[in-house]
């Protein structure tokens, strides 16, 4: 019981800056479409109605005792029987509902009244107030609820209201932390900055922008807290420390437990009432959370598909180009990697499959660098991950095949990448350079460990040998003090250094094919050039094939032999870098190229990071 108080705080959904912008009516509609959501609303609604109309519905006063009729079974007068003092169980259950719901509301109200403003102030202004409140919160959070309530009871005597106010104070940190986190996440959002610049007062910014973000998480949290409050208040009454003049479910449970040898059914009713109420609250919280998360997902998906839809102005042309590209690619000649008519999709809740890669074909040979260019959401990373066999679990291959060095990793007709075949290739013959250097190293292990282990596992060499090779690799990728980097943890090195480490890891087992997914995007401009030089130098020296996924034509011009342009999951154009850059045939490629030429108005819609594109030298 009281353990769930603290866990409720932990389980609190971490609000993102987005949740508040979901329109409330759609959340409500989604909630009503969820059977569990309806069930919870019906349960809670009926209990609330029974509580409100308790004085009308109850046949007896809550403490009216018929001493001649104790522990009676159910009959037409006492529809659920009577207790040991001859009081009507049904009537007491109804009055108990009243008190229980009111006390839960009081508790949540007190907790919100303290936690919400404190969280807003701490999140918005930070500083000393935040430090002090964090300290208070850590103390409050570390006190078991029931022990505190016992102390309050010892000091103030039995009162439902006092104990619920105290519990509200005790549990207010869960609102505080929720609000603070939410506010911190939006405090520096551009739209809040814009509001500040436009001269809105802090108060109206909080009211308008920030309160909307915390509203939904607070409703979810309130459902959880009301349940916990009911459990703990009833527990206190069960112990005989509640107000004896009031009919409550806790008192009834205790009464039933005392007479468990005679009439065990007395136990059943209050326990059922509690379980239904708390269960209804738990379900309601879950259903609201699901409704919000669905909204998030849909929004996310929409965001991804919007630019694609708006750019396929001429579907006939797109189809035509696809055909021409495929015609060139489908052949029988041997390549290092050959992707034929590949399709990747994600099954949706409504049974359809959303294709993110559609009919894509290309090949790469040893000693060659192929650039795959496209906007965010064009399917270029999905294509790369299908080659690596590292698609998310719910992804499906919906068409085509992939051959590595003549062997299928995705045979025609397969709906998933064969992990059995790829696990023999990954690390050894195909390797991967990720985009974000810091998040791709395990923070809990040294860089040396993360370089040595794959070599030991894949090449079967000794640790000492692997260590020697790792130090050599670190030198090769231009790290000045390899020993120190070898011993360091990822958080102790810079982003550029981490990316060099990841490149070293990618080539450590002498692969034939390296897939680099935007390897320079997350780096500073000066470091970008260094890393590109390093990639070219290694590629030429080791004679490996490289697939370079990027949105940046500057990088392509710098490094690649051939380039494939992707849009909306499809390959629109493919050819040598010289041809494509000098003489792009497709409108889309022209637009993509045009968007980064100097002297033109940047088409921000097409380039996800206008800053990084503008930094590059103009091409052509």
């Amino acid at each position: 019981m009281s353990d769930s108080i603290d866990t409720a705080a932990v389980a609190a959904p971490v609000p993102t800056g987005q949740s508040g912008t979901v329109v409330r009516s759609t959340v409500m509609r989604r909630l009503l479409r969820n059977p569990l959501g309806i069930a919870s609303l019906v349960i809670l609604g009926s209990i609330a109605l029974l509580a409100i109309f308790a004085p009308v519905l109850a046949p007896f006063e809550e403490n009216f005792a018929n001493i001649t009729k104790t522990l009676a079974p159910a009959d037409s007068v006492n529809i659920l029987g009577t207790d040991s003092a001859g009081r009507d169980t049904w009537s007491r259950l109804l009055f108990g509902a009243q008190l229980t719901l009111l006390s839960a509301l009081l508790c949540a109200g007190v907790a919100i009244a303290i936690g919400l403003p404190a969280g807003l102030i701490a999140g918005y202004y930070a500083g000393k107030f935040e430090a002090v409140s964090n300290w208070v919160v850590s103390i409050l959070m570390s006190l078991p609820g029931l022990i505190v309530l016992l102390t309050i009871r010892a000091a103030f005597g039995p009162s439902v209201w006092i104990s619920m106010i105290a519990f509200g104070v005790l549990i207010s940190p869960s609102y505080f932390r929720l609000t603070r986190t939410a506010v911190q996440s939006v405090r520096n959002e551009l739209y809040v900055d814009a509001a500040r610049v436009s001269g809105l007062s802090d108060l109206s910014i909080i009211a308008r922008h920030i309160f909307s973000v915390v509203r939904a998480p607070i409703i979810i949290q309130t459902a959880a807290i009301a349940g916990v409050a009911i459990a703990i208040q009833s527990g206190l009454e069960f112990l005989g420390l509640g107000d004896p003049t009031k009919a409550t479910w806790g008192v009834m449970l205790s009464e039933g437990f005392k007479n468990v040898y005679m009439t065990p059914t007395l136990l059943l009713w209050p326990a059922l009432a509690m379980a239904l109420t708390i269960g209804g609250l738990v379900l309601l919280g879950n259903a609201i959370r699901d409704a919000l998360e669905d909204g998030e997902k849909i929004k996310h998906r929409k965001k991804k598909t919007v630019p694609a839809e708006s750019t396929t102005a001429d579907p006939a042309k797109a189809g035509q180009s696809r055909k021409s590209v495929a015609a060139v690619e489908v052949g029988t000649e041997h390549h290092l990697i050959k992707v034929t008519n590949l399709g990747v999709g994600y099954p949706q809740a409504d049974g359809s499959v959303k294709k993110v890669v559609d009919d894509v074909s290309f090949h790469v040979d040893r000693g060659e660098i192929l650039g795959i260019v496209g906007e965010s959401g064009s399917g270029k990373s999905q294509t790369a991950f299908s080659i690596l066999g590292l698609l998310p679990d719910n992804a499906r291959i919906v068409g085509g095949s992939i051959q590595f060095d003549g062997n299928y990793t995705v045979a025609p007709g397969d709906d998933r990448v064969s992990q059995e075949r790829l696990s023999k290739l990954r690390g050894k013959r195909i390797s991967y350079i990720p985009q974000e250097p810091m998040s791709n190293l395990d923070p809990a292990f040294t860089i040396g460990y993360q370089l040595v282990t794959p070599m030991v596992r894949v090449l079967g060499i000794s640790k000492a040998e692997a260590r020697k090779r790792a130090l050599k690799l670190l030198t090769d990728v231009g790290i000045v003090n390899p020993e120190r980097t070898f011993e360091a943890y990822p958080h102790e090195v810079s982003g550029g250094m981490a990316q060099r480490v990841l490149i070293a890891g990618a080539i450590s087992c002498e692969p034939d094919l390296v897939i680099a997914d935007e390897p320079t995007t997350a780096l500073d401009v000066t470091v970008q050039a260094d890393v590109l030089d390093l990639l070219r130098e290694l590629q030429q020296r080791l004679n490996i094939g490289v697939i370079l996924v990027t949105h940046n034509f500057g990088v392509v011009a710098d490094l690649c032999d051939r380039v494939a342009v992707m849009q909306n999951g499809r390959l629109v154009e493919e050819g040598t870098v010289r041809d494509i850059l000098r003489n792009p045939k497709e409108q889309y490629t022209q637009t993509l190229l045009g968007s980064m030429l100097e002297g033109k108005t940047p088409m921000t819609m097409l380039v996800s990071r206008p800053g990084s594109a503008a930094q590059k030298e103009p091409v052509a």
């Binding site: 019981m1 009281s2 353990d3 769930s4 108080i5 603290d6 866990t7 705080a9 932990v10 389980a11 103390i139 959070m141 570390s142 078991p144 609820g145 029931l146 022990i147 016992l150 102390t151 309050i152 010892a154 103030f156 959880a224 349940g227 009833s234 527990g235 069960f238 112990l239 005989g240 437990f257 468990v260 040898y261 065990p264 136990l267 326990a271 509690m274 708390i278 269960g279 738990v282 879950n286 590292l390 679990d393 696990s423 690390g427 991967y432 990720p434 974000e436 998040s439 791709n440 190293l441 395990d442 923070p443 809990a444 282990t453 794959p454 596992r457 894949v458 943890y489 958080h491 087992c509």
Partner: protein
């Protein structure tokens, strides 16, 4: 590391001091005339005054608090106003009973919740659905209601277990385990359902991290990724979940002990609360806060060991 522990220990002592001062103030300023409470309504004003003098209640609050603190530091927590038994003695006989139960339940929770939670995160499918439903059911039924039903059905109706338990070493280990089974089950069910769900979320969060994908791309096996990398990174979150459960259980066990008539901290706390036996209540609060501080310290140390970043800063 030693500096880190010393710092944590220091802040723990500050918390202990603050909580004791607040509790002392709250208890001794709010409960009306304590002496009259003890002596009953028939007592004459003279008797009440005499009793107040005897208990030191005529002294100013600050003086009384520091007198209490001085005694407490030397291990003397005062005596019950009703039974005159020294509080330290009552605690010493009762803490082992409660702690045995809490730690048995906690170890079982840690094992079950971790196994189920990790399985749900890795396998998904039906295991995951069972965990989700279990969490909802567990959240809906307070532990003491489970306890009440366990007693009613398994002990009273079916006679499989003793309805009330007394733990004394003479009974023999078998009878002892037997008598502890139901209370421990009542204590751990909510912990397992809630813990499994939260550990599941923590593991899934780690499985979705970028570095896991990179490890896969390097040719590291799934098993090694799970046991060496993912579980290590998910462990701090899991430890926090379990420590919060343990703290919550210090409250939950009070009711469970009452249900099973166990001679632990529960009955002591309940009786003292009902009578406003303030020295005993103070003792119960102090014991709780000390346990909380020790648990948090252990979690901090374990986290420092697991996460190099914490260790460095």
């Amino acid at each position: 590391m030693i500096k880190f522990i010393a710092k944590r220990l220091g802040s723990g002592l500050v918390v202990l001091f603050v909580v004791s001062a607040l509790t002392f103030t709250l208890l001794y300023t709010s409960s009306g005339s304590i002496a009259r409470n003890i002596l009953g309504d028939q007592a004459t004003p003279e008797q009440v005054a005499l009793k107040e003098q005897e208990l030191g209640l005529d002294q100013p609050l600050v003086t009384r608090y520091f007198a209490w603190l001085g005694d407490a530091v030397s291990g003397n927590l005062g005596a019950s106003w009703f039974t005159s038994e020294p509080v330290a003695n009552s605690l010493a006989t009762r803490i082992p009973v409660t702690m045995t139960m809490v730690f048995t339940a906690m170890i079982l929770i840690a094992i079950c919740a971790a196994l189920i939670g990790v399985a749900a995160a890795v396998k998904r499918g039906w295991v995951d659905r069972v965990v989700q439903i279990g969490a909802i059911v567990g959240d809906s039924i307070p532990g003491y209601v489970i306890g009440v039903f366990l007693v009613t059905i398994l002990a009273i109706q079916l006679g499989l277990f003793p309805a009330t338990s007394t733990i004394s070493p003479e009974v023999g280990p078998e009878a002892w385990v037997y008598s502890m089974t139901l209370p421990v089950i009542a204590l751990l069910i909510n912990g397992v359902t809630g813990g499994a769900q939260q550990i599941r979320s923590a593991v899934i969060k780690q499985l979705e991290r970028d570095y896991v994908r990179t490890l896969r791309s390097r040719g590291i096996g799934e098993r090694e990724i799970l046991f060496k990398h993912v579980l290590r990174s998910a462990a701090p979150a899991g430890l926090t979940v379990l420590s919060l459960q343990l703290i919550g259980m210090l409250g939950g066990v009070v009711i469970i002990e009452q249900i099973f008539a166990l001679p632990g901290m529960g009955p002591l706390a309940v009786t003292a609360t009902g009578q406003s036996d303030l020295p005993v209540v103070m003792g119960v609060v102090m014991y709780t806060v000390v346990v909380v501080i020790v648990v948090n310290l252990l979690v901090d140390i374990l986290n420092g060991w697991l996460n190099p970043k914490v260790r460095v800063s």
